[in-house]
């Protein structure tokens, strides 16, 4: 009786050391501009070449501007980093979607969109949100730059197997409740270190009912629960998503692949080291109030009161978080008023996310108190599709800005950022201090909740307004 993780792990072991450290074969390597330059330098210094060029796809996403692309990149340091990626890819012969390619976008959006991510693969990238690709029944995880170089040079990584955790979400999600809310509720439940040392498999009827976009959102946030990798079994939804994508197999190969892919699920009665159960029907829209994703509550909740917390270290952390966030104990979440709205990131910038936000906004206008509201689609193709559906008009008419694809204000490496003290309703994945700009204050929410907050000027239960 094997788990999906057992199957994916075992099939990729090339060699095992006596202490269990294994050499794992890597099928897909996604590369972006921030964590790769030093790895390419390392290759050059040692006179090595990439092992398997057809396993690599590169794209610049972290630094790219989301406005006026035709004018190039204003920031000379960002520009140098992107030019360095371009040069490295040209020199070594790596396929890269360049900044003005329609297929350019956030690495974790374009992999699946292109069919570059396929079930049963090991997928790595120098980015912690690589867990996203686990939605396709992949073993997908983020790596550091030394490992980027290691994979380039050897097509393998040295690893030890993690423990396994199953997160079972049974039942039906309520109206207006999304995969993002499941993810945040899970993190609220087990904490940001709850998954440390584990590979997580999400299952249960609520997970099966999610679209691929929803499953990607859920697996994307696995790292915020401390687990390097998250995954979901392959089913019809997975296979239908992949069918016909540019890099997915065709004809006889497709048929053979599908037969194999259908085996990519945990056996019945497979043994997990830990099982967490969540009732989907009980999950409400979530909003983070602090500086760690585990500092989260429901839309009808309140900011916690440090005086009610017994543990000294935790109380101290909550006090510090409230000070940074400029919030008072016991304040209702619905009284928190964002200054800016960010709809985007590898967590929530896919077509379904934009549709969900647009549905809430349609025919309405953002509140006067909102200084800036931006939508940053996950890729050029997502942007195109949204425009075909007229979503751009809905956003623009509501007072949103409609931007070019990239990581943007999720981590503020480009010009999109919060000013000190500014508060943002953000569909991204991290509310760390300074994440969206120095002194910026982030509240993580779903796209529908961010849209509802934009219209109301404060957080509001999307279930009551839409």
């Amino acid at each position: 009786m094997k788990t999906l993780y057992d199957k994916l792990w075992k099939s990729h072991v090339v060699y095992e050391e006596s202490d269990g450290t294994s050499l794992l074969y890597i099928d897909r390597h996604l590369v972006h501009e921030v964590t790769s330059p030093q790895a390419f330098d390392g290759l050059r210094l040692s006179g090595r070449k990439p092992w398997r060029l057809d396993s690599i796809l590169a794209v610049a996403d972290h630094n790219v501007p989301t406005t006026k692309r035709d004018d190039g990149i204003r920031d000379p340091i960002s520009r140098l980093q992107i030019e360095t990626l371009d040069q490295n890819c040209d020199e070594f012969g790596i396929t890269e979607f360049k900044m003005n390619d329609l297929r350019q976008g956030i690495v974790h959006v374009i992999g699946p969109e292109q069919g570059v991510t396929l079930p049963g693969m090991t997928v790595v990238c120098g980015d912690s949100h690589t867990s996203t690709h686990g939605a396709f029944g992949c073993l997908a995880f983020g790596i550091g730059t030394s490992e980027v170089e290691h994979v380039l040079a050897t097509q393998c990584l040295l690893m030890k197997k993690a423990k396994s955790m199953q997160i079972l979400v049974e039942g039906k999600l309520g109206h207006g409740v999304t995969a993002k809310d499941i993810a945040l509720a899970c993190i609220g439940e087990i904490g940001t270190a709850g998954g440390t040392g584990y590979a997580i498999e999400f299952s249960g009827s609520a997970v099966s009912m999610l679209s691929m976009e929803g499953r990607m959102t859920l697996c994307n946030m696995t790292i915020e629960a401390g687990a390097r990798t998250g995954m979901i079994a392959v089913d019809d939804t997975t296979i239908e998503y992949i069918r016909g994508r540019p890099f997915s197999p065709k004809g006889d190969l497709w048929a053979a692949a599908v037969v194999h892919w259908r085996t990519l699920r945990s056996d019945e009665n497979a043994n997990f080291d830990q099982i967490i159960r969540l009732d989907a029907a009980q999950i409400k829209p979530q909003v983070t109030w602090g500086t760690s994703p585990e500092m989260v509550t429901t839309i009808d909740g309140k900011v916690p009161d440090p005086l009610q917390i017994m543990d000294a270290v935790e109380r101290h952390d909550v006090e510090r978080a409230l000070k940074y966030m400029g919030l008072l104990p016991n304040m209702p979440i619905t009284e928190i008023r964002p200054d800016k709205i960010f709809i985007g990131s590898c967590t929530n910038s896919r077509i379904e996310d934009l549709r969900a936000a647009a549905a809430v906004i349609k025919g309405k206008h953002i509140a006067e108190s909102i200084k800036l509201a931006i939508v940053v689609p996950g890729s050029g193709l997502v942007k195109n599709q949204a425009e075909k559906e007229g979503l751009d008009k809905i956003f623009l008419n509501a007072g949103f800005e409609w931007r070019e694809p990239g990581c943007s204000m999720c981590l503020a490496m480009n010009d999109d950022r919060l000013l000190p003290g500014e508060r943002c309703a953000s569909t991204s994945n991290r509310n760390f201090e300074g994440r969206q700009g120095p002194g910026g204050r982030t509240h993580l929410v779903s796209p529908a909740m961010a849209a509802a907050a934009a219209i109301a000027g404060h957080f509001v239960d999307v279930r009551t307004v839409y």
Binding site: L23, D41, I77, I143, L158, T192, F432, E433
Partner: protein, 212 residues
């Protein structure tokens, strides 16, 4: 990678849980395409009162006198004592680079985030997990002692306090050998080059669609 030797080093305490990699090295410094020089921006938003950008000179910045590493008694610290889930967040190896470039050789905490923990070994920075009660005790002793040193013995897998109390820690044999001998992992892996080639050929036969 440099070999890891037995050492006796000064300890600096960083008393907060969930220290994330954005705090260890903020994103604006990730625009560098170099591997070195991140130490001067370690914990930038906590260490300085002004906003740091790549290329700014450290001696022209406004130090935050309240930040622990800015206290003169910790200037020569080579061991960072930390709380649970140290290094959570992004996979940026720039975080261990910054800690090492600043001068740290060892980080002690009750737990670390997985990717950060893994990245440390790749560059010869030793993360040591000690149980929470022991870490509490060391925090307490550091607060009472001016000049608190720990002896780190990787060979024996022990941390020894000034009073002679010794705490043992776990480490994978493979990682231990790599650190003690300063081994290059890519070199090690390439010793198995034939096995990789055989695996790859069989894999290609079984799942040709992975090689499109």
């Amino acid at each position: 990678m440099e070999k890891f030797y037995l050492c006796k080093e000064l300890v600096a305490p960083l008393d907060r849980a969930n220290v994330d990699t954005d705090a260890i090295i903020p994103k604006q410094f990730l625009k560098s395409t170099q591997r070195s020089g991140f130490g001067k921006n370690l914990f930038d938003e906590w260490r300085f009162l002004d906003y740091g950008e790549l290329g700014m000179r450290a001696d022209q910045r406004r130090l935050n006198p309240d930040f622990i590493l800015n206290q003169s008694r910790y200037h020569d610290a080579r061991i960072l004592l930390a709380r649970a889930n140290f290094g959570c967040g992004s996979s940026r190896e720039h975080a261990p680079w910054a800690l090492q470039d600043y001068g740290f050789k060892v980080i002690i905490a009750p737990s670390f985030a997985d990717i950060f923990f893994n990245n440390c070994f790749k560059i010869g920075l030793l993360p040591i997990v000690l149980n929470a009660a022991v870490v509490d005790r060391i925090f307490y002793e550091v607060s009472l002692t001016n000049g608190y040193y720990l002896v780190i013995n990787l060979e024996d897998q022990t941390v020894t306090a000034p009073d002679g109390e010794s705490y043992s820690f776990e480490i994978d044999l493979f990682r231990k050998n790599s650190l003690l001998n300063g081994l290059d992992e890519i070199e090690l892996t390439l010793q198995h080059i034939e096995k990789i080639k055989v695996f790859e050929e069989e894999w290609r036969m079984k799942q040709p669609w992975l090689f499109l």
